[in-house]
């Protein structure tokens, strides 16, 4: 899934951010206060949704790297004629997937809530708590990226160790 999904996510993310930029330029020239606040909601929602999609694409790319390490490591062992040892999915990888999905879901929810807020009488109070919520969504995806990088380090350590064992014992 990661191998297929990273490119569309990385393509969609900057597009949404660009749309947000266009809306912010329109907003800067707007004189009607209600339309100004409506455009503010759209801009903020879209830009953070775009940022989350971009970070989600990076997360999928990291998943692709992990898949390549798994596949490549297995093929090297197979070509050497030794028994193939593959790391079971570590807890850090499971947590990476969970955090990434939570972060992307929060990004989608914050976008929807921004649209709900601009239809209400008092959008300012909604905007006040939506701001840290959207940063939380981005932060969760970044935290997922931390765990993906940690998992890559763990996989590399295992692979070097396995290669050393193959070199010294031939098994």
């Amino acid at each position: 899934m990661a191998e297929r999904a990273w490119a569309p996510m990385l393509a969609m993310g900057p597009m949404l951010v660009a749309v947000g930029l266009v809306l912010s330029l329109i907003q800067s020239g707007e004189s009607d206060p209600e339309t100004f606040i409506d455009l503010a909601g759209w801009t903020q929602g879209l830009q953070f949704l775009g940022l989350a999609m971009t970070l989600g694409g990076i997360s999928f790319l990291l998943g692709t790297i992990l898949a390549a390490l798994r596949k490549g490591g297995g093929e090297v062992q197979e070509s050497l004629g030794v028994s193939v040892m593959t790391l079971k999915m570590p807890a850090s990888a499971k947590a990476f997937v969970a955090l990434m999905m939570m972060g992307v879901m929060i990004a989608i929810v914050q976008f929807v809530l921004y649209l709900v807020a601009i239809g209400r009488e008092d959008p300012a109070s909604w905007f006040a708590w939506l701001a840290p919520v959207r940063v939380l969504g981005v932060g969760l995806i970044l935290s997922g990226i931390v765990l993906a990088l940690y998992t890559i380090g763990t996989v590399l350590a295992l692979q070097f160790d396995r290669l050393k064992t193959v070199v010294t014992t031939g098994r």
Partner: protein, 220 residues
Amino acid sequence: MEAASATQFEVETSQKALGYNLPQRMGIRLWLPMFAMGLMGLIAGVVLGIIRADEISSAGAADTIASLGHVQAGLTFLGLAGALAAISFAIARILGQFRAGGGELQEATGRMVGTLKMPFSAKLFLGTMMMAMMVIVIACVLHFVFAADVSSTEESLALSQERFTVLEGIRRIGVAMFLVAIALGLATIIQVVRYQSIRIRELPGEQAPADRTNRGPDRR
């Protein structure tokens, strides 16, 4: 096309694997505390955001709302700094695995161990990361200081808003510097992978050093 050679890299040669260097040891120890700090800061920011939103909707005191805005921004960006620092430390850990694992693999083959000297991109990665962290921490500390300085007068509220705007710019510069540092860390990984793939190709054709028994402790 001429095959690449390890001679195009600056390498330190030794009998034994050199293990982790200081930044890599720090990365191995600090990624988890930074990760925890990041999550805590972000969650605290959300909680304060909800409290501030409640103040706004119940027409609370303007100075309280302004103070909460500063504290919330400070905590949220400390959380973001923690997450970005954890990414940087995790990258340092990966570089450490390449250095230690690559060296041990060469040692296991009985050949001389070639370890890449710290590339310029790695030094730049460390420097940029430290500067980014300092910029964000200073901005967040100033947020907390200015939060305590707000009063209910118009001038004070206007000054608070002005300070918030300036600090927002400084925080975002800090985040951008962190992203540049992360890109430099990834560029260093690319250099290391290139060197290791060349070195591994060279190993089978290399002669083992003439006399290893008199150097270093007995490894049997």
